[in-house]
């Protein structure tokens, strides 16, 4: 849907006539740190899922299975709120000096 159309096909004023389009956009590209979850210690309380401002925690059958890194912006709220301290914010690999 977010195709690069010519200007005269764009809706007026950058309005988006289709809501919920952020699933199509990589909004996590500017992240400098990423959450790394020690899943073996996770109790699946879903506090990280509830606090995440970008709905980036992936849950399957009531259990946390990972993070959607296309939408996680690396804010670190999850790591701060996790009662088991099993989320660590680690530098993005690409940003780590060789």
């Amino acid at each position: 849907m977010l195709s690069l159309r010519p200007w005269y096909e764009e809706p007026p004023g950058g309005l988006l006539p289709y809501p919920g389009n952020s699933v199509e956009v990589d909004t996590g590209a500017w992240r400098s740190r990423r959450p790394v979850i020690a899943l073996e210690r996770c109790v699946h309380c879903m506090i990280c899922w509830a606090f995440c401002p970008d709905s980036a925690f992936i849950v399957q059958d009531g259990r946390l299975i990972g993070v959607d890194l296309e939408h996680c912006k690396g804010c670190g709220i999850c790591a701060r709120e996790c009662p088991k301290a099993c989320i660590a914010m680690e530098p993005e690999p690409a940003l780590t000096p060789a």
């Binding site: 200007w7 764009e10 988006l16």
Partner: protein, 406 residues
Amino acid sequence: MALAVSSRVPPVHGLGTPVALDGGTLVAHAMRQTRPDVVAAYPITPQTVITEAFSQFVANGEVHTEFVPVESEHAALSVCIGAAAAGARAQTATSGPGLALMWELLGVASGMRLPIVMHLCTRALSAPINILCDHSDAMAMRDTGWLLLFSENGQEAYDQAIIAVRLGEHPQVLLPVANVLDGFIVTHCVERALLLPDEVVSEFVGEYQPAYALLDLQRPVTVGGLDFQDFHMEHKRGQVEAMARAKGVLEGLFQEFAEISGRIYRLVEPYRLADAEVGVVVLGSTAGTVRYVVDRLRARGVRAGMLSIRSFRPFPALEVAAALAEVKAVGVLDRALAPGASAPPLFSDIASALAGVGLSKRLLGWVYGIGGREVLPQHIEGVFHTLADPSVPPGLVGWLGLREGR
């Protein structure tokens, strides 16, 4: 009407009930008749006459508008933007410093393509502080993407307040419109004018049918989204195209309005210009003074004429060039300054309109009326005399009525 009764009284003709009202109250009547869903405004001289009169119409139940007495002009335009995005017909009014406080939102309104109508009662920008008329506020919003329609008197301000609603809301336009009336000169002077019947105006403007609206829950939309380098330029290109299309739409609306009012408006208004050797270009209420001087000079055999610019944005460059094509010397009157620029704003536009069609013409400019400085018929006569004097070099000649000393 064939007899020139007295040029000092602007010709009021056409349909409607005669009233004696100041321009501000006339505009408030147009607001009442165009039935905005939301009006948000903050008092500021000389605009306050409009808001006062309109809020009384609301209090009396004569119009069912959500009137929001906001805490600032920044809030006034913000409320209008939110209302217009929600799908409402929104209007506001302001002057000089109030417009300056709206600045951030001016581009938001036009960039989001929201057809808000603003009645701009022109006032000098501080400092030194001044409440009187000049066009420094209107010129400061020149490049913000708003349509700018100047009016000569209360009748025109009233008529344009009605036309502006249709213009902005037109699906080919979708832009905010500023209806510009000169502070005090038009806003406060009581004039004879003709009020159209309520039902005629309400039929002319109709109901606003927004293509997209935040309150349309069946078709949800996102507005004001982040618009980076891969989209912003396309959206700005579309906005500029809408401004260009507004010219034709406005001409069509003038025709439609003539049918209900008997009053014929054009993008630019020539007066005795067809065979003129010397012509003056002007914006706003000073056109009345220039018309009076043109008549006086014509009576003495001077081939004088005038071009009054109604649609300043979009600027009808081709129409301007065509109107001035046969005039030997053109004088441009600017009621605003552009410090450090090659010329004041209107002069620059006239010069580029002429250059755009390859017309080389004797072009002279004057600054006048800054901070409410009186412009008198003898000043305008002096302009015409200078235009006719080939020994005066072209360019900016001077400031009308300035104490030059020496």
